[in-house]
Every structure is written in structure tokens, then in C-alpha cells.
């Protein structure tokens, strides 16, 4: 078998084999981009700005009335409050989990991390349903409270129930984000702080936590965005009494068939996620330049 010996010869062989110029590899992007434009950009923009029985002016008017309506404002406030509480609790409990996993000996980091993220394989109905058994008027907590002589408590269909359910749902995300920062941290920094006389608590506060802040911030953003947009948990644990933006949006579409109003709620929800994402992006930049 003979090989072309010079590059000129090789080029001649190549040009003989190829009649048309070879298309650039970037042509492989075309199908994916086309689908994104048709199945994502077009429908989302059309729905947010121009629902079937409305026009941009109607959506603008609906958004305006949404932001001033005495019934709807509490829904927005509740959504933000629930999301902030969920984020704070996830950070409070998820960060210690990530820290202990990152410092665990031998094969334990892998095992514990697997246990912490296993719930991600289950759908949200499976993960949330157990709370109905725990929190209902006839549920576990209520019966324990009754046995203690404190009377029955109905925690189901309250804001507390929604927050508990969402914390359960999003803890794995926080643990993963914090762990990715903590596992890359040089453990000797913490040991150095201890060696220089810092208490374990102080070393944690002044060395470990600040260094893991970028990961924690990513986790907070993910949890907040998830909590604002979650549907199953507020639907099952909040019910019609404690509406959030997502469950309100669903009832506007399915029950009252009010599409311009649904578009307005969708707009507010999307804006909330984008604003918080942009803010945390800025915070992350400031944090990384000052430390």
C-alpha cells in the first residue's frame, strides 16, 4: 500500500477525493439551535407577551393589576417568604452535611454523598407524599401531640408544611453545591487555624465557611429558584388555602381559563428567578474579587 510521501501530494489526493468543499463542523449546531428556537424561544416569548386571547397590552395590564391587587400581592410575598426560608434552612442544615462528608474518613464520603443525593432519583410526588402522613390532622405529629396532652395539631395546608416539604426537596442540591467547594478546600488551612489557637467553631466560621462561600452561594441560588418555581409540594402541602405563584398559575390555566392573567403570573415568576440569579452572580463576582 503506497502512502503519499509529501504534503503536496496528500493535498492533491484529498482534493481529488472531495468534489465539494467540506462543510465546517459548526453545521452540527444547526439542528439543535433550530429545535431550541422553535420549541423553546418562540413558545415562551409568544406566551409571555402574546397569549392566545390577549395581546402585549393585556399582559402588561394584567401584570400591573397583579402587582397592585390586594389578593395577589400576598401570594407574591408568600412565595418570596417561603423561598427565602427554604434557602436559609437548606443552607443551615445542608452545609454541615457537606462539611462532615468532605472530612469523613475512608470510603465514607462516597457512601454518604450517595445517600444524600439518592432522593433526586424519586419524583416529587413520592418525596412529598410522606409529609401528608406526618403532618395531617390524623397524622404522626398530631397524634404525638395528642398523647402528650397538647391536643391535635393540623400542620398540613400551612406555610410551615410547604417550607418543610421544600427543604426536604432541595437539601440534596445544597449539599452537592457546598460539597463541591468543600472537597476542593485545602484541609491544612483549617488545621493551621486550629494550630494557631482557634477553637473548632472559630476555625469553621472564619476559615472553612468563607472559603466555601462560592459553592454555598450557587446552592442558595439553585434552591431559591427551585423553591419559587416548585409546583408539586405547594400544591399537595399548601392546597388552595396557601397559594404560591406556581399553584396560582395552574389554577388560572386549569380552573378559570384566564390566559392573560396566567401569562402575567408566569412573567412575574420568571422575572423573580432571573433577578435572583443575576444578583447572586454579581455577589459571587464581588466575593471572589475581595477575598
Amino acid at each position: 500500500m503506497s502512502r503519499p510521501s509529501t504534503s503536496a501530494e496528500a493535498a492533491r489526493v484529498a482534493s481529488r477525493r472531495r468534489l465539494l468543499p467540506r462543510p465546517p463542523i459548526t453545521i452540527l449546531l444547526v439542528p439543535g439551535l433550530a429545535v431550541m428556537l422553535f420549541a423553546f424561544c418562540y413558545p415562551v416569548v409568544a406566551t409571555l407577551a402574546w397569549p392566545p386571547d390577549g395581546d402585549p397590552a393585556t399582559v402588561a395590564r394584567e401584570t400591573g393589576s397583579l402587582l397592585t391587587d390586594p389578593y395577589l400581592l400576598p401570594v407574591i410575598a408568600r412565595t418570596v417568604r417561603v423561598a427565602v426560608l427554604t434557602t436559609a434552612l437548606c443552607l443551615l442544615m445542608g452545609f454541615p452535611v457537606a462539611y462532615l462528608i468532605s472530612r469523613a474518613p475512608g470510603p465514607w464520603p462516597g457512601r454518604l454523598l450517595a445517600l444524600a443525593i439518592f432522593p433526586l432519583l424519586l419524583n416529587t410526588v413520592v418525596r412529598t407524599y410522606g409529609w401528608i402522613v406526618v403532618l395531617g390532622g390524623n397524622g404522626l405529629i398530631s397524634r404525638i401531640s395528642e398523647a402528650l396532652g397538647l391536643g391535635r395539631v393540623q400542620l398540613l395546608y400551612t406555610e410551615t408544611a410547604i417550607v418543610l416539604g421544600l427543604v426536604q426537596l432541595f437539601l440534596p442540591l445544597m449539599i452537592l453545591s457546598a460539597y463541591s467547594s468543600l472537597s476542593q478546600q485545602d484541609h491544612r488551612l483549617e488545621e493551621a487555624a486550629r494550630g494557631l489557637g482557634a477553637s473548632p467553631g472559630r476555625a469553621f466560621r472564619d476559615v472553612v465557611f468563607p472559603l466555601a462561600l462560592p459553592g454555598a452561594l450557587v446552592g442558595c441560588t439553585l434552591v431559591f429558584a427551585g423553591a419559587v418555581t416548585a409546583f408539586t409540594t405547594p400544591q399537595l402541602l399548601g392546597g388552595p388555602r396557601e397559594r404560591l405563584l406556581s399553584t396560582l398559575l395552574y389554577s388560572r390555566v386549569n380552573v378559570s381559563l384566564d390566559w392573560p392573567s396566567a401569562s402575567a403570573i408566569a412573567l412575574v415568576m420568571t422575572a423573580l428567578v432571573l433577578v435572583v440569579g443575576a444578583l447572586s452572580g454579581r455577589l459571587g463576582k464581588i466575593g471572589s474579587t475581595t477575598s
Binding site: 454523598l113 433526586l120 413520592v126 418525596r127
Partner: protein, 262 residues
Amino acid sequence: MILRRPFLSLLAAAAFVLMLGPVVILVGVAFTAGSTLAFPPEGLSLRWFRAALAYGPFIDSFGTSMLVAAVSTVIALALGVPATLALHRGHPRGRRIMENLFFAPIVVPELVLGLALFQQLMVGMRVTAVGALIVGHTVLLLPYTVRVVGASLALADARLEEAARGLGAGPVRTFFTVTLPVMAPGILSATILAFITSLNNVPLSLLLTGPGVATLPVEMLNYVQSSFDPVVAAVSVLLLALSVAVALATERLVGFTKVFGR
């Protein structure tokens, strides 16, 4: 560690109880002999598992879920793998913008995307519920395939491919003998992650339903809201068993935390 860090250990223990407690309780409820959601269960029986497997809508919607997950995973890979290859090896102009476009579905609430597809595709263009589900799930999964496959490509040494080309291999041969084996673990991870993500989705699939057509999680949600017997607990335990099997298989194939820990 636990003794040295009592406060942190307490918080971590609370986190694990919160994450796994409700699931454990649900398992107990599923085996109850009684007919209410009670924990501890009133006697043991398998009657709710029999009831779950005899309930037609769960079987049908499980079929719909599997179909939608399989088809949209395949389409998302067929679109995402070539696009990722072009993004990483083609050095196209406007790469950042195109990458952001592929990642954009992560930022838009799924319920909003579902509403948009319902209005524009199902109402506007008369697309069927299954068609809209496949389109929606493809969009949902594309970011995962682009990111996961991209991560494996970014780690790979592009000079290997240049070496193959320099040694006389054509672009197609280079792709199949060098690039594809390098990407294979990433593609496998993306496939598992995408399939599970599709199978579990609720908010996007919620509005994309038709007469007798819904995905299993949505069917479960509807059932839970209308009746209070433990059938859904039994379905949950069956899904839990499936998830354990998936987790074990994933651990053997690519590593469980590598796939789901991203």
C-alpha cells in the same frame, strides 16, 4: 468527628431525617392492611400493591412516561452530542451566546415552559399531548446532554484527534475511533441523567395532558388530590425499588455520584 462536632452533627442528622424520613414512612404506609394513610401501619398486607397494579390509569401513564422519556432522551442526545462537538471543537463565532441558548431552559420555570407549549403547540398547532410532551422533554433534557457531554469533551485532549488526523485518518474515522470513545462515559452519564429527569418531571408535564394521556407522576399527583387511600404509597415503593436498581446499575457502569452529583 461526631463527638468533636456535636452542633454540626446534630444539624446534619436533622438534614438526613428530613430528607429520608418521609420516604421511609411512605414505605411503611404502603404495606398497611388498613385503608387509611396511617403510620405506623395497621397490620401488614400487599393489598395496595395489588390495587396499584390493577388500576389502569397508572399502567397506561407508566407506558406514556417510558415512551416520552425514551424518545426525548434519544432526540436530546441526537441534537445535543453533535452540537456539543461543534461548540467544543469547531470554535464557532458567538459560542457563548449559543451555549447560553442551550442552557436557557434551566432558567425559565418549567411550569411556564409547559404553559407555553400547551398554548402554542397543543392549542395553536393542534399537536397531540404525547407530541407536546416529547417536544417539551427534549427541550428540558438538551441542557443536561450539552453540559454533561461537554464536560467529558473539555477534559479530553483535543491533540489526540489532531494526531489521528495528522496520521492520515479522515474526520469520520477520527470521530469513531478517537472522539467517540473519549465521549462515551459522558454520553452514558447524560443518557441516565436525562432519562431519570424526564421520568420524574411534574411541572412541565402537568399541562401537557389529553384525554386519557398523562405521565405517571402527574397521574399520581391527580390521584393523591382526589382520594386518600394508600395506593399511591404502593406505587411509590415500586418506583423506589426501580430507583434503587437504577442507582446500583449506574454505580457499576459509571459511578453513581459522578452521574447524579452534578
